[in-house]
Amino acid sequence: KSEDDKQAGAQDTAGQQQVAQTPAGNVPTCTIDKFGAHKFDLKSGVVGFSQSEKEANPFRIAETQSIKSEAKKLGIANLKTTNGQSQFNKQISDVQQLIAQGAQALVIAPLNSDGWEPVLQQAAAKHIPIITVDRQINATACKDYVTFIGSDFYTQGKRAADQMIKALGGKGKVAILLGASGNNVTTDRTNGFKDELKQKAPGIQITFQQTGDFAREKGQQVTEQLIQSNPDVNGLYAENDEMALGAVTALKGAGKKAGQIKIVSVDGTRNAVSQIPGGWISAVIESNPRFGPLAFQTLTKFLNGEAIPQKVIISDREYDASNAKQSVSSAY
């Protein structure tokens, strides 16, 4: 049953992405002429979307879902989608295949920020505009690709740190459940969190950090080990909701009380947010996956010749005890 209203949640406009209020001007803009692409009619044209990971976790499900439904809404007849199945080389060849199949514009959710050389070359040769969502590509905006729409993972880390500081009152011992090793998101969310702590709360020290591979079971197992080896930790930062929920299960299993160990995590999935009122999770930083509307809005503008920013940072919300109850419905 929980499945159905998730789907609904994906459809309804609540929890739509908002563009962060960035004072115009200091963000360079990009136009179709500057980029040098051909105009074409979105509805009749071929658009390719390359997803990086399986649609097997709430974030990816919602992301793909939102792209597809938005495309349908705009009446884009020919949307081709591929999935990299978490294998970077596969995603590269996926996109190359999309190009070979005549895609005129590409929306890419990159698995990795580096290594897009071959794709960018082919796209450039054919003047195909590329919009990357949720992760950035390390290349020149408005030259190699048009623009990036997504969250700032580093900031997410900082905001998580702020929440942690709030929850712990500025001092304590914190453990981190890292994401998959070698993953850009892991790196940014970790650095953001650490830098912020160093700066704002020297009283908090990080005594433990092990990878939970973004998976619930791994999060549970690592936490079970952790609470025995480091019984003194009183804060736990999980770099995604799944690991946080795994940690919650572990704590329950070990007979801990809610709130005994303060958990802060990133993503904003419905399951996680609904744990806040109970006190098991203290706060969740949202990482909004619903890129559809914003992406196609930007693309349309771009094709109409309007100037669009070379970087669109979306404002992610935060859930904590104050707002969890009312906004849980808009979580994905």
Partner: protein, 336 residues
């Protein structure tokens, strides 16, 4: 005497038999994977007009070429009756090392990975051939070790080293003639060399002999230890080289590559008709196996709007179908 002559003139199995039909049948048997590949390509071309285009086939070629390089080494290993699970990690390690070393020039970017990955193969080979540890375990440890080394070089994977555009090695990885990337040609060259090495040299004979029966090979005076070490070194080198070229192509040492690659490689080799029990197999079969995987992948994307879950189901089904047909075709052979 003459009688026994005639006796055996007659006493020969059908596969090697005289009539043209039988010979053709035997050919298909020996190249089951290739036959299936042809079939699949035919179907693909018929079903999707976007499939047989030069650009698309070029993509398949270039993406497959790296897997193929690794599979070449794996073929030798498996024919000796061994296995190498470390190739995925070594592949990734090679790429990272190349990108790391490019600061000292393209030559360094080529040599460092080869040296390190070759060394990995050497250590594994010695542990397997001299200390006589199980290849599966040794190379599993290699898988972990190489990944660990990679992470420690790249600061737990947080830093990705880049290969500047100008660099010679980058041009090698990205350049192409007739719309086909250099790596493809290099892979082809390597496979020809590999085929000669396996079929037309004493080394190759020893590889087969060891796989067929290690004890017998030793009794016949085959340098078992040396040969086994050699194949693992080869496997390491080829994985490293493939990683290097891949990094050159992506112009960066991506750290998240190669996980689960070993299974694709093994699958490709085995689908190519090489027996995991050793003693039988061919380089040409491996080519077919690799291309089969590539084509399957490509066709699934051609089908288009499949959810990732369905994609997996379909590729699983494809795989099953392929191995069944391939097994059926080459069954008679195996039973002999």
């Amino acid at each position: 005497m003459t009688e026994s002559m005639t006796a055996t003139a007659a006493v020969t199995e059908p596969a090697a038999g005289p009539t043209g039909r039988e010979r053709a049948f035997g050919l298909i048997q020996r190249h089951g994977a290739a036959a299936v590949l042809v079939l699949l390509v035919a179907i693909g071309s018929f079903a999707f007009d976007r499939f047989p285009t030069g650009a698309n086939l070029g993509n398949i070629a270039i993406t497959s070429s790296f897997l193929a390089m690794v599979a070449l080494g794996m073929t030798f290993v498996i024919i000796t009756g061994g296995i190498d699970l470390s190739v995925g990690s070594v592949f990734a390690l090679g790429g990272v090392l190349a990108a790391y070393a490019v600061r000292w020039g393209s030559l360094a970017a080529l040599l460092l990975p080869l040296v390190v990955c070759g060394a990995f193969g050497l250590v594994q080979g010695l542990l397997i051939a001299r200390v006589r540890l199980a290849p599966f375990i040794v190379t599993l440890a290699g898988l972990l070790g190489a990944r660990g080394l990679l992470l420690s070089i790249s600061g737990e994977g947080s830093t990705t080293y880049l290969i500047p555009h100008g660099a010679l090695i980058a041009r090698v990885g990205q350049g192409s003639v007739f719309g086909i990337g250099y790596p493809v040609y290099l892979t082809l060259a390597l496979f020809v060399a590999g085929a000669v090495l396996l079929q037309r040299t004493r080394f190759g004979q020893c590889v087969y002999a060891i796989g067929g029966s290690e004890d017998a090979a030793e009794l016949m005076g085959v340098p078992v230890t040396r040969t086994k070490v050699a194949v693992y070194v080869m496997s390491g080198l080829l994985a490293g080289l493939a990683g290097t070229l891949n990094a050159a192509r992506l112009s960066s040492g991506v750290t998240i590559l190669g996980t689960g690659m070993e299974l694709d490689v093994i699958a490709a080799v085995v689908i190519g008709g090489t027996l995991l029990t050793g003693g039988a197999g061919s380089v040409s079969g491996t080519v077919a196996g690799v291309l089969l995987l590539g084509v399957i992948q490509n066709l699934i994307n051609q089908i288009g709007d499949l959810s990732s879950s369905y994609q997996q189901v379909v590729s699983g089904a494809f795989l099953a179908a392929v191995v069944v047909v391939q097994t059926y075709l080459s069954r008679v052979q195996r039973l002999r």
